[in-house]
Assembly symmetry: C2
Homo-oligomer: 129 residues x 2
DNA sequence: CGGTATCCAGCGGGATACTG
DNA sequence: CAGTATCCCGCTGGATACCG
């Protein structure tokens, strides 16, 4: 068992099965929001901007199934359901934190790269007819 | 300008624009493979198991547009095209490394959580009719 | 060798209406 | 309040054929 060096661990096919956890449209938002503690369904719906009721339910179930969060139902009227990260979920958020930070830090750089690429494309289009 | 504490940076809507870089089916594989240095098209096609010619081209163009990698064309016969990470791409891979490592380390735990969840579902189905 | 072009199936996900 | 159910559109991505 060697200690891994600076070399990045390879992303194998198995990894994608797990990366799909956060590779969909909403999971990382939800997990990120739950870092504070338990949230109720409607609170999440307002916090996660633009999510539909259906996708919130679907995504929560998926994350619950994968052991990322727990769903606690208080059977009162009106119903009270709260979601919070499991230790596994917290560790996922912890692992994703550098990538989230990287995203926040490189938004403008990437936007610039896109603009430059698109412009160089339209330039060559004019040149080549 | 406060120094961020242990609290995870929030994933805002902007972030998804960037996370989409790696949230598709193939990007992270390709970026991960390119950590070694420049690769040619066909080499990548063999390294990234299961990818089609079309998806390799599409994904490489997207990553190139976003400034993650560069495409160098040697106009000889037969054609020789090599791809390699930009500094931006290398920093992306660096930021994604913890998440990739987390995925590798929790494959079994997540599979177990899924099995347990599915079994508890079928149990309650039998109970409730 | 390294692409493009075209066609098409599957599913992610939005809108809407209904329920306990 | 916290969901389900249904419909449907668009995009991702696979298969295949052709090109410089």
């Amino acid at each position: 068992m060697n200690t891994p060096d600076t070399r990045t661990e390879a992303a194998t096919c198995d990894v994608r099965e797990v990366l799909d956890l956060v590779a969909d449209k909403w999971s990382l938002y939800i997990v990120s929001n739950l870092s504070d503690g338990p949230w109720r369904f409607t609170e999440l719906k307002h916090a996660v901007d633009g999510i539909s009721q259906r996708m919130l339910t679907v995504t929560l179930r998926r994350l619950q199934r994968d052991g990322i969060l727990t769903c606690t139902v208080h059977e009162v009227m009106p119903p009270n359901v709260s979601y919070q990260l499991t230790p596994l979920g917290a560790s996922l958020l912890h692992a994703a934190a550098p990538l989230i930070a990287w995203s926040n830090g490189h938004l403008t750089q990437i936007a610039a790269a896109r603009t430059e690429y698109d412009q160089s494309l339209s330039q060559s289009n004019r040149t080549n007819g």
